[in-house]
């Protein structure tokens, strides 16, 4: 039995940052890279299934990205993933979430897992479409924003609870194999043990090229994407103002603002 977890190395921003010269992204010097938070929960969910199963379960993590992504994949290995695969070609630079979904789908076809997990969204781009795009390319059932999962290896169905607006949960039975996008809070992700980190440092990361997936440079990148970033910018500041004065004045001003909002 095999669970494939699609993960992404995301960029967080410092308080002060600069936009790249082409105006389409933040200057890389100001980005702090880490494993996408949602993917931490996806991996943990896979690990829970692996550790509670009587049968052997292999957890494989896959990411599309350049060399630096190895650091995030090693983090997954340190937490217990059995294998890690990184797919990359420089021509994939600028690919949108749908193209990334296609690359992942081709990888999944080769790996033939029984389940695929992905995060609901990435914290840096927030398209929330990679996992769904994978399901579409595979023509597999999918469930988004999964907040609870009941599934045993070998089952041909899983029961998921999906998080909806207004605090509602929707319980859904889904055929397997399926693609599930996992929501934050579904579990409590573990920290990697020191032993796990040391072992992960020596584990190989399988590097897969586009040609290994029967794809070419013409299938990926910005040109093949259905959406393209035109520019990135900081919008003009809003109406926020600092409340000055003595503490008593500041308190009085806050009370005045609250009363105005309440219509008092």
């Amino acid at each position: 039995m095999k669970i494939l977890v699609a993960v992404k190395q995301v960029a967080a921003l410092e308080e002060d940052f600069e936009i790249r010269a082409d105006g389409k992204d933040v200057d890389e010097d100001f980005m702090l890279y880490d494993l996408n938070e949602w993917d931490d929960y996806s991996l943990e969910e896979a690990m829970k299934i692996k550790e509670s199963s009587d049968t052997e379960v292999e957890v494989v993590v896959v990411s599309v990205g350049p060399d630096r992504v190895d650091e995030s994949l090693r983090k997954c290995l340190a937490k217990g993933a059995d294998r890690a695969i990184r797919v990359w070609d420089d021509s994939a630079e600028g690919s949108d979430a749908v193209v990334i979904g296609r690359i992942l789908a081709e990888t999944i076809k080769k790996e033939a897992p029984d389940m695929v997990f992905a995060g609901v969204q990435s914290s840096d781009q927030a398209y929330a479409s990679t996992g769904i795009s994978v399901a579409s390319y595979l023509n597999w059932p999918h469930a988004a924003v999964v907040a609870d999962l009941q599934y045993k290896p070998g089952d041909n169905k899983a029961v998921v609870r999906r998080e909806l607006e207004g605090g509602l949960l929707q319980e859904v039975e889904i055929n397997c194999p399926a693609v599930l996008t996992i929501q934050l809070g579904i579990n409590k992700p573990r920290y990697a043990s020191l032993r796990g980190i040391k072992q992960a440092a020596t584990k190989p990361i399988e590097e897969v090229s586009l040609s290994d997936l029967s794809l070419s440079a013409d299938d990926v990148g910005a040109a093949k994407s259905m959406s393209r970033v035109r520019r990135m910018y900081v919008p003009e500041k809003g109406r926020a103002t600092m409340i000055e004065g003595t503490l008593a004045e500041q308190a009085a001003k806050i009370i005045q603002i609250i009363n105005e909002f309440k219509g008092a």
Binding site: E14, D16, E18, E28, D29, F30, L32, R190, Y191, A192, S193, L194, R195, G196, I197, K198, A201, E244, G245, T246, L247, A248, E249
Partner: protein, 497 residues
């Protein structure tokens, strides 16, 4: 000797040869250079000189990303920040101006640079930095023209009396003076004479801030006592310098805020306490319930107060007698029962009762209570609630064999409790040197129960913050380590025996 300590004993021996390398600052710097880690380089930078220093700086500044990270990081040592200031990168300078560790001399140079470039954002950051030199702040006070820098300066507690006086005088005729004087009125460094001068020319709010200032002259306090303004009375009601007659007048005020001030004032006469204990406002009664000079009749009345917070404050009060604590230990409110368990004078019989409370939050208070005996903690160690177990882990009365079990807990809070427990022995703590949570390993480096070599063995930890903390510890202890090493052979030999 336990299996874990034997395992670490072997590590101690194997690290002995490397420990020898630490017997001088030069050797430590050489090790850091060999490590090739920018954060290790930053940790030992202050020890290095000449070519070694340049090598470390090359490691720290190899990429702009690393330089930016170090310039921003709150743990970066001052010497590293000084080195980074020489790069001449505006983005790095911005982070240096914000970093609380940036030294005065560096800030002075950055101020000159910011002035030459007329960079007002950087000037403002220097104006509000706690480490800025008085001379720089005075220059800003005398010559800066932008309101943001001047306002930032007026709030800076590092601005001394002279700087604040210069600022206030310079802006006396400026429309900015009102806002600046309000800030000075709240600035802890403002001297009495300046406060008095501002008081005479300010609005009521500023005057109230000055009355509440620790440096407010007695003459102004005396003058303000005649005021009937609510803000003035609320402020003065808490002031120890206000006399009993004025407090009596305030105790009769229709404003609960004024009466609250009297209820919380240590100098309030006993005759007023009884009156305020029956005050119509629960806010006033809450203040009263925390007082250390309550009479038995006051306590009796407060113990049956309708407001749970009043009972909670009384339950925490160390002067509450046993019979009252017994009643409060059976209170319907969880917070009241918890407060009894947290009371420093809580007797054993009540701790035993509360240890069996149905609410984990109450049992946790017993677990954290330093008067809880080992027997009680043994029972609480069987609890399944993480807050209770964290309390047991923190408690210095917990037997070592229980702490040894708790270090294997899946809950990070529980394991951290053991690390923070001052009674935890080295043998108990040893497994936590491999705790999965990096912050715990940093705490282990700072733990006085651990041996030098226990800490030193974390120098190649996967987390850069742990590696940094190990080398920082080595830098700060380089002399003691050297001295201990000479004795250290004997210590280790004794351990082997």
């Amino acid at each position: 000797m336990s299996a874990s300590s034997m395992k670490y004993g072997k590590k101690l021996q194997s690290s002995l040869s490397e420990m020898k390398m630490q017997d001088s600052a030069d050797a430590l710097v050489k090790l850091a250079i060999k490590a090739g880690d920018p954060y290790v380089a930053a940790a030992v930078h202050e020890l290095a000189t000449g070519a070694s220093k340049r090598q470390l700086e090359a490691q720290m500044m190899e990429t702009r990303r690393t330089a930016l990270s170090l310039a921003r990081w709150e743990h970066t040592p001052a010497s590293v920040l000084a080195a980074l200031s020489g790069i001449g990168d505006d983005a790095v300078d911005l982070r240096l101006d914000k970093n609380p560790n940036t030294a005065a001399g560096v800030l002075s140079n950055l101020y000159v640079d910011a002035s030459n470039k007329r960079n007002l954002d950087l000037t403002k950051l220097i104006a509000q930095h706690r480490n800025s030199e008085a001379a720089v702040l005075k220059t800003i006070a005398l010559y800066a023209e932008d309101a943001d820098s001047l306002l930032a300066l007026s709030k800076n507690p590092s601005a001394n009396a002279e700087v604040l006086a210069c600022l206030s005088t310079r802006l006396a005729e400026d429309e900015l003076s009102v806002a600046v004087n309000k800030n000075i009125a709240q600035n802890i460094s403002a001297p009495a004479d300046l406060l008095e001068r501002i008081y005479r020319q300010s609005d009521l709010h500023t005057q109230v801030a000055i009355i509440g200032h620790v440096n407010c002259p007695d003459a102004l306090i005396t003058e303000a006592m005649a005021s009937e303004d609510l803000l003035v009375m609320r402020t003065l009601a808490r002031d120890r310098r206000v006399n009993a007659d004025v407090l009596r007048r305030y105790a009769g005020s229709e404003d609960a805020g004024v009466r609250c001030g009297v209820a919380g004032n240590e100098t309030t006469p006993l005759s007023l306490i009884g009156v305020l204990a029956g005050d119509s406002s629960e806010l006033v009664r809450r203040e009263i319930a925390s007082r250390q000079d309550l009479l038995p009749e006051h306590i009796a009345a407060l113990a049956t107060d309708a407001d749970a917070w009043v009972r909670q404050r009384l339950a925490r009060n160390a002067i509450a007698p046993l019979d009252v604590l017994k009643v409060l230990a059976a209170d319907a409110s969880t917070d009241v029962r918890r407060a009894v368990a947290r009371n420093t004078q809580c007797p054993l019989e009540l701790l035993e009762l509360l240890a069996a409370d149905g609410t984990a939050w109450v049992r946790a208070a017993v677990a954290y209570q330093h008067h809880s005996p080992a027997e009680l903690l043994l029972a609480l160690a069987e609890d399944e609630d993480v807050d209770v177990l964290s309390g047991v882990a923190n408690n210095p009365n917990t037997p070592q064999q229980i702490l040894e079990k708790l270090v294997a807990s899946n809950e990070a809070d529980v394991r951290r409790g053991v690390i923070l427990n001052k009674a935890a022995t080295r043998n108990t703590l040893l497994p936590l040197l491999e705790d999965p949570y990096y912050l715990h390993r940093i705490l282990m480096v700072a733990n006085p129960s651990m041996h030098e070599l226990d800490k030193w063995n974390l120098r190649e930890d996967p987390d850069y913050q742990v590696r940094f903390s190990v080398y920082r510890w080595a830098v700060k202890n380089i002399a003691p380590i050297n001295a201990r090493y000479i004795v250290g052979n004997e210590v280790i030999r004794r351990r082997r025996v």
